[in-house]
């Protein structure tokens, strides 16, 4: 049988320009991460090696139920992207442009960002579809982009989001898909928040239970810009998300919250890297993981304060809940400080359900399984509470509850 790299290469659509041909070549030269490749140590390629990568997409699928009060802009599915039908009576926020066949390649050059990353070259070598979202004003409401994972082979998409100076948007990035989609989705997003721009990003990853996902998000925040993230990693059999956020200017603000819920044999690895490239900026991160069954969660949270980024205020906290003796969570916060007069703090805890709390609930008549669910959901409550919109928060709480491992 051919190697995984060969099969991925074979799964690419025909190259239609020189950039793609070059990227193919680079992909093969760089090669997939090896067991000793530090950045992929906790997510070895073993899990992907048995993928057959058939060329098929599953036939049209309705996808996840809608979310209240949310306007869907576009949907990636079946190796393409389509503009959603905007229901009558609902208007897109003014100042929002999007282009679903944008040529985003030049902005997504792996040579400039991470030249040893094979998945980046792979994405450049043949993304099925790209989308460009340009936010020019303060946009009201919650807008959604859907990524529908419906492949048995390889699907690759790209998106580029730009929030212009002083503009703002709440964007829900919703990954979903059917339970029988076994293939690999390779996603790349590049997001720029210009001076004073504000992006509230709600990320709900609930692709099907057999799916594989490799994703990279590169976000840069200019001076005075704000990124608020509430991320939920619920789906996929095997998933990896590289989340790289850079504070490029003074008075930039990051508020990041993540909730990972894994059961059975799920594997998820988030590698978060926050770079304080400029001083006088703030970042606050809380990342929580829940693992039951034989699941494995990995979180690498690295804060880098560059030389000269004086007056940085950076905090990162990770808390983890193990529901089963066979589940495993590796959470590693890391601080690299090269500037002066910074305030940085990080901490990590790993624990189990509080037996005293469990008994308290049961002693009031709540059955054990329900009591465990209540306590597990309560653990994630801190992340859910970041969703300002009440109807959406409640809908997401129900989604999270539905994905919670039983133990």
């Amino acid at each position: 049988m051919s190697t995984l790299a060969e099969r991925l290469h074979a799964a690419l659509p025909a190259a239609h320009d020189g950039i793609e041909a070059m990227a193919r070549q680079r992909f093969l030269e760089v090669g997939l991460p090896r067991p000793k490749t530090e950045a992929w140590r906790y997510s070895p390629m073993r899990a992907l090696e048995k993928l057959e990568l058939a060329h098929d997409f599953l036939s049209a699928n309705a996808g996840a139920a809608g979310l209240p009060g949310v306007v869907t802009l576009a949907r990636f599915a079946g190796g393409g992207v389509e503009q959603a039908v905007i229901p009558p009576g609902i208007e897109l926020g003014g100042g929002l442009d999007f282009d679903i066949d944008a040529d985003t390649a030049p902005a997504l050059d792996p040579a400039a960002t991470d030249p040893t990353n094979a998945f980046l070259w792979l994405n450049l070598a043949g993304a099925h579809a790209t989308l460009n979202l340009d936010v020019r004003e303060r946009v009201v409401g919650i807008h959604r982009l859907v990524v529908h994972h419906d492949t048995l082979g390889l699907a690759q998409y790209r998106m580029r989001v730009r929030v212009q100076a002083g503009a703002s948007l709440t964007l829900l990035l919703h990954h979903e898909g059917p339970a029988n989609a076994t293939g690999l989705l390779n996603l790349l997003s590049v997001i720029d928040i210009d001076e004073g721009g504000e992006l509230t990003l709600i990320r709900v990853q609930e692709v099907g239970a057999a799916a594989h996902l490799v994703e990279r998000s590169e976000i840069s925040v200019s001076g005075g810009g704000t990124l608020t993230l509430a991320g939920f990693e619920l789906g996929a059999l095997w998933s990896r998300h590289d989340l790289l956020v850079t504070l490029e200017g003074a008075e930039g603000r990051l508020e990041l919250a993540g909730l990972v819920a894994l059961g059975e044999r799920q594997h998820h690895d988030t590698r978060l890297q926050i770079t304080h490239a400029a001083g006088q900026a703030q970042s606050e991160t809380v990342w929580k993981s829940i693992a039951g069954g034989r699941a494995r969660g990995v979180f690498g949270g690295r804060i880098e304060v560059a030389a000269g980024a004086d007056g940085t205020d950076a905090r990162l906290r990770t808390a983890n809940l193990l529901l089963s003796p066979h589940a495993e969570i590796d959470a590693r916060p890391e601080l690299v400080i090269e500037a002066d007069e910074v305030q940085c703090a990080h901490g990590a805890t790993v624990g189990q359900i509080d037996e005293r709390a469990l008994f308290y609930l049961r002693s009031r008549g709540i059955p054990e399984s329900e009591a465990r669910r209540m306590l597990t959901l309560a653990f994630g409550g801190e992340v859910l509470s970041r969703i300002a919109d009440e109807a959406l928060r409640e809908a997401l709480a129900a989604r999270v509850a539905a994905h919670l491992p039983q133990g």
């Binding site: 308290y360 609930l361 049961r362 002693s363 009031r364 008549g365 709540i366 054990e368 309560a378």
Partner: protein
Amino acid sequence: MLDIQDLHVRVAGKDILKGLTLRVAAGEVHAIMGPNGAGKSTLAHVLAGREGYEVTGGKVLLDGLDLLALEPEERAAKGVFLAFQYPVEIPGVNNTYFLRAALNAQRKARGEPELDAMQFLKLTREKLKVLSISDELLKRAVNEGFSGGEKKRNEIFQMAVLEPRLAILDETDSGLDIDALRIVAEGVNRLRSAERGFLVITHYQRLLDYIVPDHVHVLADGRIAESGDKELAKELEAHGYAWVKERQIGAPA
């Protein structure tokens, strides 16, 4: 109603209850007093079904049913309620949500219809007033950041809502100021009925001025060492527990 027969309990390899026998009839209030470490909370926890207690002998019947064979939630549905000596803080679980879930779980287990949010609100409103609990506390997470007295009042509030058959109050009076003590006692007295039994664990005779017990027991060295009426509590207050010991030694074999 509650029939504890020759109960032996071991905790962490240590014998704590060593042949405790106690019978509570419906409608009665039994006070249990006794020195620190005597096993009062152990008894309360064993009745409520907490893990970590090894019953090495004896049995406990509630209305003729083998209580020790039931899960904690099944006991609750049968009417056992424990007001904890140290109520647990549960961040992230809303107090109202929790209590409604508890009441409905019990009702469901008993085959009774569940209460919707409006019905529940109506039920709680009146009980809140009796216990002088502000509904602000109900909007918070279970016991989170509650003062000691607020936690105890919340226990009694839960009891008032759940209307148990057997209420076990483990030092509910500890940490209460004088007014709160009166309010809590008033809450308990309102629930006294011919259908309900109480085990009131306390160190202080003062509580028993407000909640007048039918029987007072001294739990010492893992057994009921002495039983009497409310006058026994006064004697204890005056003479201390050594007095019980002396009487036992002095008593004819």
